[in-house]
């Protein structure tokens, strides 16, 4: 996550430069099952002038995006998210499974970049 912070700051500057001028601040949805990590990510994003929503699981993320199949979503996406950052290994749904669900379920959210973070350094354990 230390390295993520640096990379994030560098890429964020590029990302902001590519956005149409005068656009409002970026809204990032961060997903992580660790309380410690959520607190750090939230602070890091806020200090980078982003609007942040932090959730603890893939399920919660899908609920937030209105993609959980619950009745009540009128087909109009009121939630505007510019970037999704998710931990890879989480109980229940991995970050990759979340990514797949988002890309499959919604034509709107399919366009959103998703960053998956992992502290795993043995690649074969990141089950593709």
């Amino acid at each position: 996550m230390a390295i993520t912070g640096e990379i994030f700051r560098q890429n964020l500057t590029e990302f902001l430069e590519e956005s149409p001028s005068g656009s409002p601040e970026l809204h990032v949805l961060a997903v992580d099952d660790s309380l410690v990590d959520r607190k750090v990510i939230e602070r890091l994003l806020k200090i980078s002038s982003c609007k942040v929503t932090v959730v603890e699981s893939g399920t919660r993320a899908l609920q937030y995006l209105g993609l959980d199949g619950e009745a009540g979503s009128l087909g109009f996406d009121s939630v505007k998210v510019n970037l999704i950052m998710t931990d890879y290994s989480m109980p229940g749904m991995t970050g990759y499974e979340l990514l797949k669900k988002i890309k499959q379920e919604s034509s709107v959210f399919r366009e959103i970049p998703v960053v998956i973070m992992s502290s795993e350094n043995v690649l074969t354990r990141i089950d593709r």
């Binding site: 996550m1 230390a2 660790s34 410690v36 990590d37 750090v40 931990d87 502290s119």
Partner: protein
């Protein structure tokens, strides 16, 4: 006899350097300190406190897994990985490194090996906790004395 603020600041500097020098803390901890400012003056303390709570819970769970018959090695590996993640996030380098040593013992279902790792982990955590609590106390005393620290 109370120490004056200058003496406390010198002590803080020395103690913090030692913690980095001895490998208890790494650059990620410095990164956390950089995220703290006047609008979030207790950020590091809050994150570390969460980390302490998290640690105590995980260590307890790992001990319980090892007491089971047969021991749940898959679960221990999962806890070690989780703990490795959160310790890395706060810059707890030595704790993080011990977490990494669990894997081969879990894979070979080596109970003795896992127990030794857990013992080491508990020790490292304890040392770290003491070191950080002392650090926070120094910071608190400096602030109370009207001083400041970077």
């Amino acid at each position: 006899m109370t120490m004056d603020v200058n003496q406390l600041q010198a002590k803080l500097c020395e103690h913090q350097s030692a913690m980095f020098h001895q490998g208890f803390l790494d650059d990620q901890f410095s990164q956390l300190q950089k995220l703290q400012d006047e609008s979030t003056p207790d950020f590091v303390l809050e994150v570390v406190t969460m980390f302490f709570d998290d640690s105590e819970s995980i260590l307890k769970n790992m001990a319980r897994c090892l007491e089971q018959v047969p021991a749940d090695f898959k679960q221990i590996d999962a806890y070690a990985h989780q703990y490795k993640g959160s310790s890395a996030s706060v810059g707890a380098a030595r704790v993080k490194n011990v977490c990494a040593t669990f894997r081969p013992f879990c894979e070979t279902k080596n109970l003795d090996g896992c127990m030794r790792c857990l013992q080491q982990l508990q020790q490292e955590y304890s040392l770290l906790k003491n070191g950080l609590q002392y650090l926070f106390r120094l910071q608190k005393d400096i602030k109370a004395g009207g001083g400041s620290f970077s």
